[in-house]
C-alpha cells in the first residue's frame, strides 16, 4: 500500500496540472475566436434591418442583441453564457443558438461516432493482418491499400459511393437525412455512405499505426519469452502483442474523433446532411456570425477536451508520463 500512495498523488498532481492548462487553452482559444469575429466588417443589427432602416431602430436592435456594451463585457458574457449552455441568440433566425446547434449535433455527432466505429473495425483486422505477415504479400497488399486510402480525398470517395450505391444500385438515398424519429435504422441507413467515406482515410491511417505499433511490440524481449514458454505465434500476438500495442492506437483513435467531427463539415456538403457543417455555411452567407462563432468554439472545444482526456488516459496507463509536463 505504501507504494500506491505517492503514485496516486503523482496522478492527482498531473491531472490538476493538465486541468489548469485545459482551462487556459479554452480561455485563449475563445478569446482568439472572439477577437477574429469582432474584426469582421459590418454591424449585425444594420445588416439584419437592411439599408433603409432608421438609426433608432438599429440602435434599439443593437441594445436587444447586447451589441451596445463594451467589447470585453460582451466577451465575458459570451463565455459565461457558453459555460451555462447559452450560446446567445441567432441574428437571422432570432432563435437560441443552443437550440440550433443541438438539433444539428444530432446529425454530426452520430456521424462522427459511426465513422469512428467503422474506421476501427476496418483498421484493427487490417493492421493485425499486415503485422502478422510482415514483409509477405499480404502485408505489402494491405500497406499499398492504405497508401491509396490516404491519398483518396474523402469527399471525392463520397461522390463515387453516391454514384455506385445510390444512383446505380439504389441501395441508399443520394443525400438528405431521414431523421431519428423515423427510427434508429432509418437514421443509420442515411448516415451509412457518409460514415464510410469519412472513415476510409482514417482507417488507412489507423491501420498503419496499428501495424507499426504491433511490429514495435513484437521486437520486445517479453514477446520472445512468451514464445519460449510455449505459446504459439498466434497466442503471443493476441495475448501480449495486441494489449501492449493498444496504447498508441487508442491515442490516435482519440485524436481522430475530433478530426472526424471537423471533417464531417465537408462530407455533410456532399450528402446535404443537416449537420453542423451546413449550419456554418448557411450562417456565413447570412452573416449570422454569432452562430459561426459558436460552432467554431464548439469544434475547438471538442478537440481540446478530447486531447485532455487522451492525455489523462495515457498517464493512467503509463506512469512514466506523469513526471513530464
Amino acid at each position: 500500500m505504501a507504494r500506491t500512495r505517492p503514485n496516486l498523488c503523482a496522478m492527482l498532481r498531473y491531472s490538476l496540472k493538465r486541468l489548469l492548462s485545459l482551462f487556459i487553452s479554452l480561455a485563449i482559444a475563445s478569446l482568439v475566436i472572439f477577437v477574429v469575429i469582432e474584426v469582421a466588417p459590418g454591424d449585425p443589427a444594420s445588416f439584419m434591418l437592411g439599408l433603409n432602416a432608421q438609426p433608432e431602430t438599429v440602435a434599439a436592435l443593437r441594445a436587444e442583441l447586447g451589441l451596445d456594451v463594451p467589447k470585453w463585457q460582451r466577451y465575458l458574457s459570451w463565455v459565461g453564457g457558453m459555460a451555462s449552455g447559452d450560446f446567445g441568440m441567432s441574428y437571422t433566425y432570432r432563435t437560441p443558438v443552443t437550440e440550433m446547434i443541438a438539433a444539428r449535433l444530432w446529425v454530426s455527432l452520430p456521424l462522427a461516432l459511426y465513422a469512428l466505429t467503422l474506421s476501427t473495425l476496418i483498421a484493427f483486422p487490417a493492421g493485425i493482418f499486415a503485422a502478422s505477415r510482415r514483409g509477405q504479400a499480404g502485408d505489402i497488399g494491405v500497406m499499398g491499400a492504405t497508401q491509396l486510402g490516404i491519398a483518396i480525398p474523402n469527399f471525392w470517395f463520397a461522390m463515387m459511393l453516391v454514384l455506385v450505391f445510390a444512383i446505380n444500385l439504389r441501395w441508399f438515398s443520394a443525400g438528405g437525412f431521414a431523421g431519428w424519429d423515423k427510427g434508429l435504422w432509418a437514421g443509420l441507413h442515411s448516415l451509412t455512405l457518409p460514415a464510410i467515406s469519412l472513415a476510409l482515410p482514417q482507417a488507412a491511417i489507423l491501420a498503419r499505426v496499428m501495424r507499426s505499433a504491433l511490429l514495435d511490440v513484437l521486437g520486445e524481449d517479453y514477446m520472445r519469452t512468451a514464445r519460449a514458454k510455449g505459446l504459439s505465434a498466434r497466442q503471443t500476438l493476441w495475448r501480449h502483442g495486441l494489449r501492449n500495442a493498444l496504447i498508441p492506437v487508442l491515442t490516435i483513435i482519440g485524436l481522430q474523433f475530433s478530426f472526424l467531427l471537423a471533417g464531417g463539415i465537408i462530407i455533410e456538403q456532399v450528402f446535404y446532411l443537416p449537420g453542423l457543417g451546413r449550419l456554418v455555411f448557411q450562417s456565413i452567407s447570412a452573416r449570422d456570425l454569432i452562430v459561426v462563432e459558436s460552432v467554431v468554439m464548439l469544434l475547438v472545444f471538442a478537440v481540446i477536451v478530447v486531447n485532455f482526456a487522451v492525455d489523462l488516459a495515457y498517464a493512467a496507463v503509463d506512469p512514466r508520463l506523469r513526471s513530464r509536463t
Binding site: A151, W156, M159, I167, I265, I266, V303
Partner: protein
C-alpha cells in the same frame, strides 16, 4: 527499397510538369466556353472530355494543378518558416518558460483544424484562395515546430554541439550552423508529406467554397461542379479526383522514398 522513391518522384514530376506546361500551352483555352461541345466523354478532340460549359477538362486539370501546387507550397513554406525557428528556439532553451510557452502555443494551434481556421477567415474576410493558404499554413506551424524541437533536443546532447559550446558559440549560432543542417533531412521528408496533405486540404476547402473562387480553376471546384452531374457525366468527377490521388500518392511515396534514401536509420513517426 528505391522503388518508392522512383515511382513517387515520377508521379510528382508528371504533375509538376503538367502545371508548368500549362503556363505556355494547354490543348484548349481552359476558360473558353463551348456550349455545343458540352459534357463530351473523353475522345479524340477533347482527350479527357468536356464539362457542362464545354470547357476542355484536360486543360482545366493542368491549370488546376497550378492552384493546388501554389497553395500547398506557400502553406508549407509558412509552416516551415515559422515552425522551424520556433522549434529550434524552444530546443535551445529546453525546459525554460519560453520552451513551455512555445509548446503550449503549439498545442493550442493544433486545436484549430484547417477547416475551422478557413471558416473563421472566410466568415470575416470573405472567400478566396488566400484563406486556404493561411488556414493550411497555420495548421502546418505546430507540425514543423514539434518535429524540429524533438530532433534538435537529441542533437543538443551530442558531443559536437558540446564542442561548439566550448568554442564559445551562442545558442543561436549553434542552432543555425549545426542543428539546422542536421535536421534538414527530416524537414525535407516531413515537408513532402505536409505538401501532399496541403494538396488534399486545398481540394477539400475549395470544394466547399472556402478556397479558390471562380474563375481560378481548381480541382476541388471542378469536383463541386461535377457533383450534381455525377450521374450523367461521371468523367467530370473521375478525372479531377484521379489527378488529386495521383499527386498525393506520388508525394507520399516520394516522402517515404526520401526518408529511406536520406537516412535509413531515420524513423519518423509517420502516420
Amino acid at each position: 527499397m528505391k522503388r518508392n522513391l522512383i515511382i513517387g518522384a515520377a508521379l510528382s514530376a508528371i504533375v509538376v510538369l503538367a502545371a508548368a506546361m500549362s503556363f505556355v500551352w494547354t490543348p484548349f483555352d481552359h476558360a473558353a466556353l463551348n456550349i455545343p461541345a458540352k459534357l463530351q466523354t473523353p475522345g479524340a478532340t477533347h482527350l479527357l472530355g468536356t464539362d457542362h460549359f464545354g470547357r476542355d477538362i484536360l486543360s482545366m486539370v493542368m491549370v488546376g494543378a497550378r492552384t493546388s501546387i501554389a497553395v500547398a507550397l506557400v502553406a508549407v513554406s509558412i509552416g516551415m518558416g515559422l515552425g522551424v525557428p520556433l522549434g529550434l528556439w524552444a530546443a535551445a532553451r529546453k525546459g525554460s518558460l519560453l520552451d513551455e510557452l512555445i509548446m503550449r502555443g503549439n498545442d493550442l494551434i493544433f486545436a484549430f483544424p484547417a477547416i475551422v481556421i478557413a471558416i473563421l477567415i472566410t466568415a470575416v474576410f470573405g472567400a478566396g484562395a488566400v484563406n486556404a493558404i493561411i488556414a493550411i499554413g497555420i495548421f502546418n506551424v505546430p507540425v514543423f515546430a514539434r518535429i524540429t524541437r524533438g530532433a534538435a533536443l537529441s542533437l543538443w546532447e551530442r558531443e559536437f554541439i558540446m564542442a561548439a559550446r566550448v568554442a564559445g558559440k551562442s545558442a543561436m549560432r549553434i542552432s543555425a550552423e549545426h542543428i539546422l543542417p542536421n535536421v534538414m533531412n527530416l524537414l525535407i521528408v516531413q515537408g513532402t508529406i505536409q505538401f501532399s496533405l496541403g494538396i488534399l486540404a486545398e481540394a477539400g476547402l475549395s470544394y466547399v467554397g472556402l478556397g479558390a473562387q471562380p474563375p481560378t480553376p481548381s480541382w476541388g471546384r471542378m469536383l463541386a461542379d461535377a457533383q450534381t452531374l455525377v450521374s450523367i457525366a461521371p468523367h467530370m468527377a473521375l478525372i479531377p479526383g484521379c489527378a488529386i490521388i495521383v499527386t498525393v500518392l506520388g508525394l507520399n511515396l516520394l516522402g517515404d522514398g526520401l526518408r529511406d534514401y536520406l537516412d535509413p536509420r531515420l524513423r519518423v513517426a509517420r502516420v
